[in-house]
């Protein structure tokens, strides 16, 4: 699955040398951010923070063996937040001309003057700002050009279409490569920037026809193209996933154990993080209010943040406000050890920022010794969920009801694909009733977890 043995092609395309960090570009952005901060001060703001980001990229798609789209991306944006005492205003634009910088600051100041004073508003505590900025190895420009990317996309799609005669149609394969520079500063003297890259390859194919048609996809994403799965592997995996769905049926309404495949399990953990995030807590719109230092998961569960992982997708030494990120346990022995807080939400709760303005960083769920096959065995008979649909998650009550598809499992062995069913429960009990966590970790996102087995949920079907 992780394609370690077959990334030759990706490596071949690493045909250009790039400096790992282009300091001149970072400095160019820093100058603009400093100008924004100076302008805010000039216009009377008592404090300010500003950001400037630039992103360049290429994405191509191929379908039925030929190129379908070639897109050149070029985005930039500046944003500024100003404070007049406890009053706050924010403005942003993609126009970075000197005139526009001034107008953007003016727009933010105008809003701040009308906004109500909020005793909790303000910049972070200076002692919390990051002071160490290790190179996290996040920037690996690929140097792939449109022709090469198209060739790779075609190779990927061919691998899927050629995998089995039952693959009947295709939505195509795409390859994208992005590289960006981000600078953030505030009027406390913080001014930092870094560059990062992100590349991906994906494929989506169909099998069957008429009412029996099915589609599925696969993708690989990495900061360094050398760590992408090969085009061949992505295509084959997409084909396998699509084929596995053919002849899916519904289930009768029942209660049974549910195994969330890793890419679905991350959503479950995401719902937990949403519920312990400052915004949900101070608004009292969380099913986990006042749950700090209480048991929210079984005692074998540990969930920790690893912001300084080298080369990972969620790595950063400081958060969206310049606050140092923390290597920390959020849950250990099943007990909630910390919330997920920004400066503002922390102040509202009478606490300290946890360095999570903008979200968590490489949130990692500690795995057990079970691989995917062992997890199926452990479940014995139940539902393996590989896709979820809809937004049926109520963060206030924890009520959970979503469309699902996947596979019916008996005696630890997959029997047949299922679709057009829902799974329902309440997140509070679902989390407490986690039986095991697999070591089949999905590393493609900011939440790293293996498959998760929940003891019992309500399945509605035909």
């Amino acid at each position: 699955m992780n394609g370690k043995s077959d990334f030759n092609l990706a490596k071949l395309l690493l045909n250009r040398e790039f400096p790992v960090q282009n300091q001149a570009e970072i400095n160019r952005l820093k100058t603009v951010v400093q100008q924004l901060l100076d302008e805010a001060k000039h216009q009377g703001a008592s404090a300010a923070e500003a950001a400037f980001s630039v992103d360049n990229g290429l994405s191509v798609s191929a379908r039925l063996g030929e190129v379908e789209t070639v897109e050149f991306h070029c985005d930039q944006g500046i944003g500024v937040t100003v404070y007049f005492g406890q009053q706050k205003g924010t403005a942003s634009t993609n126009d970075v001309s000197p005139e526009s910088l001034k107008e953007t600051v003016q727009a933010a100041c105008s809003i701040a003057r009308y906004a109500s004073a909020d005793e909790y508003a303000g910049l972070p505590d200076p002692s919390q700002l990051a002071t160490e900025f290790p190179d996290l190895d996040l920037n690996h420009p690929w140097g792939v050009d449109a022709e090469q990317a198209i060739a790779l996309a075609i190779e990927c799609e061919n691998a899927a279409r050629g995998y089995d005669a039952a693959i009947s149609n295709s939505e195509g394969a795409s390859v994208s490569s992005h590289q960006g520079t981000r600078v953030f500063g505030n009027s406390l003297g913080f001014l930092q920037g870094y560059q990062s890259s992100r590349h991906s390859i994906s494929c989506s194919v169909l099998a069957g026809s008429g009412d029996a048609m099915q589609r599925d996809y696969w993708y690989s994403v990495a900061r360094n193209a050398a760590n992408l799965q090969s085009a061949q592997a992505v295509g084959e995996k997409a084909a396998q996933r699509t084929l596995a769905r053919l002849n899916a049926r519904s289930l009768s309404t029942r209660q049974c154990p549910v195994l969330f495949a890793p890419e679905m399990a991350s959503g479950l953990i995401g719902a937990l993080i949403g519920a312990i995030s400052g915004g949900s807590l101070y608004r009292k719109s969380s099913f986990l209010l006042d749950s700090l230092n209480t048991q929210v998961l079984p005692d074998f569960v540990r969930i920790h943040e690893q912001p300084l992982l080298i080369g990972a997708l969620g790595s950063s030494s400081y958060d969206g406000e310049g606050v140092a990120t923390q290597t920390r346990d959020i849950v250990s022995e099943g007990i909630l050890r910390g919330y997920v807080l920004s400066t503002y939400s922390a102040k509202k709760l009478g606490m300290q920022s946890t360095g999570n303005a903008g979200g968590v960083h490489n949130l990692t769920v500690e795995t057990g010794s079970n691989d995917f096959t062992a997890m199926l065995k452990l479940m014995n008979t139940g539902l393996l969920v590989t896709e979820l649909m809809g937004q049926g998650v109520n963060r206030v009550t924890g009520d959970y009801s979503r469309g699902a598809s996947g596979f019916w499992v008996e005696n630890g062995v997959i029997q047949y694909p299922v679709e057009e069913i829902t799974i329902a429960g309440n997140l509070k009990t679902m989390l407490r009733n986690i039986v095991a966590i697999g070591n089949d970790v999905d590393l493609r996102g900011n939440i790293r977890t293996g498959s998760i087995l929940v003891e019992q949920m309500a399945i509605a079907g035909e």
Partner: protein, 479 residues
């Protein structure tokens, strides 16, 4: 045409460009044999104000502009965009994207560019329709009035947003068309607590007009009352049933059923590629003969409406399903050309930085003849779903979901107890064949819908009369 001149001034003159400069960029695009080419200029202003904890503590303002350059040859598309509307950059973009054309057909598909179309909204800037202080006062007044409605209210959140979009679209036939699109939206949500139980309610609305919309007919305060009513209902709600049962959907926003179950599946791109569960089924029965469904972009002032789409095609009222028979798809120019039909004014894009594709506008079902009460009375045991959150569809398998946020049991022809929100799941190509009664009470939604496709968000509308569906799976916990 004063609108065109106004937008040319806003977008071209402000960036030191002239009409001849557009011709130069277009000439570069057309220096290779292409089927279609366009340049999409955009300048947009956006603001939001939000109240929580009784104070307006946050506001934001943003300005974005840029241009997207596209060439199409056969089914191949080259696309580049820039936030700098400058001639050298546009020329470079044009040079980059035309490389997609390897073996051009050299067939210029000339689609007559319409000269006139109805303006469905005023070309006004809603951000300036109310003084900042008045926006804040409005939020505070809604907060105060809403809090008075029920002592169990713990938190009230009110938000107000407005967008002002100026567009200029240059097509390969030399035509230049403009649109100015205002859009406003307001939302009120409340959290209520009783005996340690916590529930929410939420209501909002909006239109392509200005902030005065919320002051008309007491709308802003009505959103507050409705949010409180929903939270009150939710405080009483029991576990929802699980399994297949008769479902009655209320009028208006539950039309999200149509958007998910059939709307996406009838977008031209999926059908050209043969990846939709509805592919190749024009002329076939896909719904009971009570069902006529349209996508209508021409409703004045509605959130999903557009005078012209993002390719310069005037919108229209497109019949998708007539008396149960599939009549046609929603098209942008590329897919219409490849399928040999006319564009339907459904070519939409989130912004200059995104490619257009077939998207819905306002999708709704025409009214039938049944009284809503009669429909409820006809159900011995089932679910009445009155309000919904979001939904999602798998275009290929046709499976769709949408999540109820307010629902009740129907027992012996009467609406009895409220039940918790549950996700409903069904199969697009056959759900409408199970429609056995259609109400005479067509309502459109209040103007809150946003549709996502391929990472692009666009505002849309939905609507329907009360509908009875003989068998839909309800995803509750009560087995």
């Amino acid at each position: 045409m004063p609108l065109l001149e106004q937008v040319k001034h806003t977008i071209l003159a402000a960036n030191g460009l002239q009409t001849q400069d557009i011709d130069r960029v277009m000439a570069t695009l057309l220096s290779v044999p292409v089927d279609a080419a366009d340049i999409y200029f955009q300048s947009s202003h956006f603001e939001s104000w939000s109240l929580e904890g009784g104070i307006v503590k946050e506001g934001s303002h943003s300005i974005e502009h840029g241009a997207g350059v596209r060439v199409v040859s056969g089914d191949k598309t080259g696309f580049a965009y820039s936030d700098r509307i400058e001639l050298p950059i546009l020329l470079e973009a044009a040079n980059n994207v035309k490389a997609i054309v390897k073996h051009g057909q050299n067939v210029q598909h000339k689609i007559a560019t319409p000269q006139n179309w109805p303006q469905l909204y005023q070309p006004l800037n809603p951000l300036k329709s109310l003084a900042d202080q008045d926006k804040i006062d409005l939020l505070k007044r809604v907060d105060t009035a809403t809090r008075k409605l029920d002592s169990r209210i713990e938190e009230v959140m009110v938000s107000l947003v407005a967008a002002y979009d100026n567009l200029l679209i240059a097509n390969q036939d030399g035509s230049l068309v403009a649109d100015v699109r205002p859009l406003v939206r307001m939302n009120v949500s409340v959290i209520m607590v009783e005996n340690g139980r916590r529930e929410q309610g939420s209501m909002g609305g909006g239109s392509r007009s200005d902030y005065s919309y919320f002051l008309e007919n007491d709308r802003a305060f009505e959103y507050g009352r409705e949010a409180v009513r929903q939270a009150q209902v939710n405080l009483q709600a029991e576990a929802a049933p699980a399994g297949n049962m008769t479902v009655v959907l209320g009028p208006g926003w539950p039309g999200i059923l149509l958007h998910e179950a059939i709307g996406h599946g009838l977008e031209g791109d999926f059908n050209r590629k043969g990846t939709s569960a509805f592919s190749g089924r024009v002329g076939e029965r896909v719904a009971s003969d009570l069902c006529t469904v349209v996508d209508d972009g021409t409703l004045a002032g509605r959130r999903g409406s557009l005078s012209i789409d993002d390719e310069g095609t005037p919108t229209q009222n497109t019949v998708l399903i007539e008396k149960g028979i599939l009549k046609g798809y929603m098209q942008d120019k590329l897919n219409a050309r490849l399928m040999g039909v006319n564009p339907t004014g459904n070519g939409r894009r989130e912004s200059y930085a995104h490619l257009p594709m077939p998207r819905m506008t306002n999708t709704y079902m025409l009214p039938g003849e049944s009284e809503p009460e009669e429909i409820i009375r006809s159900v011995k045991k089932g679910l009445y779903a009155r309000n919904f959150g979001g939904g999602q569809v798998d275009i290929t398998s046709g499976k769709f979901v949408f999540s109820a946020s307010e629902a009740y049991l129907i027992e012996d022809g009467k609406i009895t107890r409220p039940v918790k929100g549950a996700t409903l799941i069904g199969n697009g190509p056959d759900v409408l064949t199970k429609v056995s009664m259609v109400g005479n009470d067509l309502q459109l939604d209040s103007g809150v819908g946003t549709c996502g496709k391929d990472g692009q968000s666009v505002p849309v509308g939905v609507g329907q009369p009360t509908l009875k569906i003989d068998g839909l799976t309800v995803g509750g916990t009560n087995i």
